[in-house]
Amino acid sequence: MLIDVDVHNSPPNLEQWLEFLDEPFRNEVAQYRGTRNASSGLRGAGGLRLDADAKSPESIREQLLDVYGHRYAILTGTYSHLASTNDPEYAAALCKADNDSTLKHWVLTDDRFVMGLRIPMQDPQLAVQEIERLGDHPRVVCVQFWGASNRIPFGQRYYWPIYEACARKGLPIHVHPSTVTAVLNHSTTPAGMATSYLEMHTCLPQYYMANLVSLVFEGVFELFPALRFALIEGGFGWLPHLLWRMDKEYKGLRQQAPRLKRLPSEYARDHVKLGTQPIEEPRKSVHLPQLIDMLGGDEMLMFATDFPHWDFDPPSILPKSLGEASIRRILHDNAAGFFRWPKGAFDPKPEPEAAAVS
């Protein structure tokens, strides 16, 4: 006679239990063929996130590069599997595989593709090993950080070996919020665990604010003067306030940032650029150029589509009122001067040969 106190039955399909699920959740689960999961970045929360297809180089060429006339696209891939693991060696293996695969199956298929190097942020020494392994590849233009799942703010000593390697190789750091914002730091916003993807996604700039404050006040840009950061997918409306606040706080609490020789805002302007997406859309259109002016100018911005994500921005989202020169800087020039491009990346392309006339 036996009593078993733990047996896991496993429903064969969703339908078996879906009929018992109340609306509006039944519709959502049926549509997305799965339930929400806090540790997956709440991707399906609200059931409204639908991305385009970017599963092949052809799909990106057809829907993006050829449509908008891209000169280059920095491939940033996905991070869920990297940012969600607490095992550094596993993460290192995933990063290596991801990097090699991205090079072989994507980057080398089209001259317009370049990439960011994934590194296991779980362990700085392993991260440096990957930077040493592949950081000199000409089509690697930056190193990638995930920006919303780290437990340690970016300015602290933990990261300095990574910064030394990046600065030495001339590689800026491209920070992108991971979709997995809960697993490694136990909250999806700095205020705690948000209820929805909407809340989490709206609050993403808060991670950037905290990390930028850390970078500046810890003196990272004094220690590594060649280091640069791109903060992507956090918009930019939050930055003027932060620059003012950092300067004001610093003037009274300078002893707590003894490495600084200049105002905090000066370091931010010299070492950091922001991706435009999702671009702010203030109610009064005149506020957008005013906002850019408060940042210190359009040199701070680099255009991003975030393709194939649901909140994609096309280049036409930049209002014409910004002016042609400003739009060109945001669409092209600022990024051209920021990343570590391969030699000849901006040489004039030869005209295609005219077809022979027989």
Binding site: G219, E222, L223, Y250, K251, G252, L253, R254, Q255, P258, R259, K261, R262, L263, E266
Partner: protein, 116 residues
């Protein structure tokens, strides 16, 4: 510019401000490690009575990024927003534009004099 007697030398106790009115101006006079300083008792930032602030040394950072402390870098921290000013020059220690107004000080016999 005139020299004004503001105190007897023995009145000026190390580290303690003496506030005097000279030519209509409220001026603080203090002795630090043998040196005498005189500043306008108004913070150039937001008008605080700056001489109520703390007299300190200074956190430093050398060219090799080593952080230390110089107890002989005579510094005044404003009581309102904690801005630091060099007592001798009036310059802010952080990269600020504002400057604390300072006055020349001398010991003339048994007296302390300030030039205003």
């Amino acid at each position: 510019m005139t020299w004004h007697r503001v105190a007897r030398s023995e009145e000026l106790v190390e580290g303690e401000w003496k506030i005097v009115l000279v030519a209509g101006k409220r001026i603080g006079v203090v002795r630090r490690e043998g040196a005498c300083y005189a500043v306008l008792d108004i913070c150039p930032h937001a008008g605080a009575p700056v001489c109520r602030g703390r007299l300190t040394g200074r956190v430093t950072c050398d060219d090799r990024h080593r952080v230390g402390y110089d107890p002989h870098a005579h510094t005044l921290r404003c009581p309102w927003h904690r801005w630091e000013f060099d007592l001798a020059s009036g310059h802010g220690v952080a990269a600020i534009r504002q400057k604390l107004k300072t006055y020349p000080v001398r010991v003339a016999g048994a007296d302390i004099e300030v030039q205003v």
